[in-house]
C-alpha cells in the first residue's frame, strides 16, 4: 500500500517538475483573420478564394471562359473584426489589372486593434496564347505600304495563333516598335466568336474615316505585333514594316 502512495507521489513530483521546465507556449486564435473570400458575380456557385494565413494571401482562380472584367467579393472575417475595403467592394477593370498590374490588399482589424494585411492574387486558368509569325525571315520583313495622299488606300493583314478570347472586348492588339513603344490599339476587323485562331486587321486611309493609328505612326517603321488576350500577352519575334507614303 505504502508503495503505491510512494509511486504516486513520485509521479506527481516528476509531473510537477516537468511542468516547470516543459512548457509549450499557448497561441490564442488570432482575432484579425480573413476567413472566407468568395466572388459572387457569377452564375451558380460562387468562386471561393484560397486563403493562406501564413503568408497573408488570398488566391482566386478565375476560369477563362467567364471573361470577367469585374469581381464582386463577399468576405467573412473573425468575430468582431472589420475589413477594408469592405465586403462587396468591387474590383474593377480586371483587364488593366492583368496588363499593368496593381496591388490589391485587404486589412483586417481585430477587436484588439491589430491589423493583418492580405494580398489578393488572381490566377486565370487560361489556355496558352500563341501567335504565328507574319514575317518568317527577319532579314526580309513583310512590308505594307499605304498612300496617305490617295483618294482611298488600305492594307490588311491577319494574325494567326491560338488561344484568342472569343469576345473581342477582351483583346487588344498593338504594334511595338524597336524601342518597345506601343502604337494602337488596332481595330480588329473580324469578329471571331467562332474562330479563335485568327484575327484580321485593316488599316484604311480615307478622308475622315481613316484608322486612328495612322496619325501616330512615323513614315516608316518596323513593328512587332503584340496581342493582349484577357490575362495573357504574346508578341511576334519578327517585325513587319509599314510605310506611310506621301505622308
Amino acid at each position: 500500500m505504502k508503495k503505491i502512495y510512494q509511486r504516486l507521489a513520485a509521479v506527481l513530483l516528476i509531473f510537477s517538475a516537468c511542468t516547470k521546465t516543459e512548457t509549450i507556449p499557448f497561441t490564442p486564435e488570432a482575432d484579425n483573420q480573413l476567413l472566407e473570400y468568395k466572388i459572387v458575380n457569377v452564375q451558380g456557385t460562387p468562386i471561393y478564394g484560397a486563403i493562406n494565413q501564413a503568408d497573408s494571401s488570398v488566391t482566386i482562380y478565375l476560369p477563362f471562359y467567364l471573361q470577367l472584367t469585374i469581381l464582386e467579393p463577399e468576405l467573412k472575417v473573425s468575430d468582431g473584426a472589420t475589413i477594408t475595403p469592405a465586403s462587396g467592394t468591387m474590383i474593377e477593370d480586371l483587364l488593366d489589372f492583368f496588363r499593368n498590374g496593381r496591388t490589391i490588399k485587404y486589412n483586417v482589424k481585430g477587436k484588439a486593434g491589430n491589423v493583418k494585411g492580405y494580398t489578393l492574387h488572381i490566377q486565370v486558368q487560361q489556355p496558352d496564347l500563341t501567335v504565328k509569325e507574319i514575317t518568317t525571315d527577319p532579314a526580309n520583313p513583310v512590308t505594307y505600304n499605304i498612300d496617305m495622299k490617295a483618294f482611298f488606300d488600305s492594307f490588311s493583314f491577319t494574325l494567326n495563333g491560338a488561344g484568342f478570347a472569343s469576345n473581342l472586348d477582351m483583346i487588344k492588339v498593338v504594334l511595338v516598335d524597336e524601342q518597345n513603344k506601343e502604337y494602337g490599339p488596332l481595330d480588329i476587323s473580324q469578329f471571331n466568336t467562332t474562330d479563335l485562331t485568327t484575327l484580321s486587321f485593316s488599316i484604311t486611309q480615307y478622308k475622315n474615316m481613316s484608322s486612328a493609328i495612322l496619325a501616330t505612326l512615323p513614315a516608316t517603321g518596323l513593328y512587332k505585333v503584340r496581342i493582349y488576350s484577357y490575362a495573357k500577352v504574346a508578341t511576334t519575334q519578327n517585325s513587319i514594316r509599314i510605310n506611310l507614303l506621301n505622308k
Binding site: E22, I24, V42, I70, V77, S78, D79, S87
Partner: protein, 262 residues
C-alpha cells in the same frame, strides 16, 4: 521508468486540452461584414424616364455607348458593372436599339459571364397593332403613330402573359430588321415611309409595344419605349439627335405577376 519524452508529451497534451476547452466556450461566430445598404429600391408604381442620355454621339455608323439601367432603383448604372447584378436592362448597339436583359448565360448579352438571370418578353397583340401597323409586311401604316396608343398598350398589360420559360434572354430590338422578331421600334432604313425625303432615311420610330422584364431580383415590370431622340419628337427625322431614351415602366415589388398598376 517513464521516459522524459513521454512526460513532455503528456504535459503538452494537457495544456492543449485546456486551451481547446477554453476555446470551445466561445461560439466561434464569424461575422459577415455588411457593406451597408446605401441603395434604395422603389415602391410598386409607374416611373417615367425622360431624355436619358445614352450616347449623344450616336449615329448609325457605330455602336452607341451602352446604357445600363436598374429598374428596381430607377437609376443608371456604370458600364463597368455589366457583369454584376446591379442592373436589369441595357440599351445597347446601334442607336441603343438592342434592349438586353441582364442574363449572364446569354451569348451576345453585355451581361455574359456575370450572375444575372433577368429575362424579357415583347408583348404583341396583332389586333391592337392593326390600328397603326401593317401586320403582313411589318411596317407602320402611317406616321406619326398617335401617342394615345402608348397609353392604351401600356395599360392593357395587366399581368405577365407568359411563364418564365417563354421569356427570352436575347435582345428586343428593331422590328423585323434583318430578322423575323417583333421589336420595340421600327427602323426605316430606306425612308420608304416618306419617299423622296432624304431626312427621313435611317430613322427609328418607337412602336407602342410593351416589353415585360423579369428583373435580376425576380420582380416583374412592364416597359414601354417612347423615343430614342432628344425631347421625344412625335415625328423624328435625321436632324433629331438620337441617344436620348424616353421610356416608361411599371414595376410590381410584391413578387406577383400583377402589372395592373396605377
Amino acid at each position: 521508468m517513464i521516459s522524459h519524452l513521454s512526460w513532455r508529451t503528456v504535459t503538452a497534451m494537457l495544456f492543449i486540452a485546456c486551451s481547446i476547452v477554453a476555446c470551445s466556450k466561445n461560439d466561434n461566430k464569424n461575422e459577415i461584414i455588411d457593406p451597408g445598404e446605401t441603395s434604395t429600391t422603389v415602391k410598386t408604381g409607374i416611373y417615367k424616364v425622360v431624355n436619358l442620355v445614352a450616347d449623344t454621339n450616336a449615329t448609325s455608323a457605330g455602336n452607341a455607348v451602352e446604357l445600363y439601367y436598374n429598374l428596381e432603383e430607377n437609376k443608371v448604372v456604370p458600364a463597368s458593372l455589366k457583369q454584376t447584378n446591379k442592373w436589369d436592362i441595357v440599351f445597347y448597339g446601334i442607336y441603343n436599339s438592342s434592349v438586353y436583359p441582364n442574363n449572364g448565360a446569354a451569348v451576345g448579352s453585355p451581361g455574359y459571364g456575370g450572375p444575372g438571370t433577368a429575362r424579357i418578353y415583347v408583348v404583341t397583340d396583332r389586333q391592337f397593332d392593326a390600328q397603326y401597323y401593317d401586320v403582313t409586311n411589318f411596317k407602320p401604316i402611317s406616321l406619326p403613330i398617335p401617342r394615345e396608343l402608348w397609353n392604351t398598350a401600356f395599360n392593357a398589360v395587366k399581368t405577365v402573359p407568359v411563364t418564365d420559360e417563354k421569356m427570352v434572354v436575347r435582345d428586343a430590338g428593331l422590328d423585323h430588321f434583318q430578322n423575323n422578331f417583333d421589336g420595340w421600334g421600327y427602323y426605316d432604313f430606306y425612308g420608304s415611309l416618306f419617299p423622296g425625303d432624304p431626312k427621313k432615311t435611317h430613322v427609328v420610330y418607337a412602336l407602342p409595344r410593351v416589353i415585360i422584364v423579369k428583373t435580376v431580383k425576380g420582380h416583374y415590370a412592364k416597359v414601354i419605349i417612347e423615343n430614342i431622340y432628344k425631347d421625344n419628337p412625335e415625328n423624328p427625322n435625321r436632324d433629331n439627335k438620337p441617344g436620348y431614351v424616353t421610356f416608361r415602366y411599371a414595376i410590381q415589388m410584391d413578387g406577383s405577376k400583377n402589372l395592373d398598376i396605377q
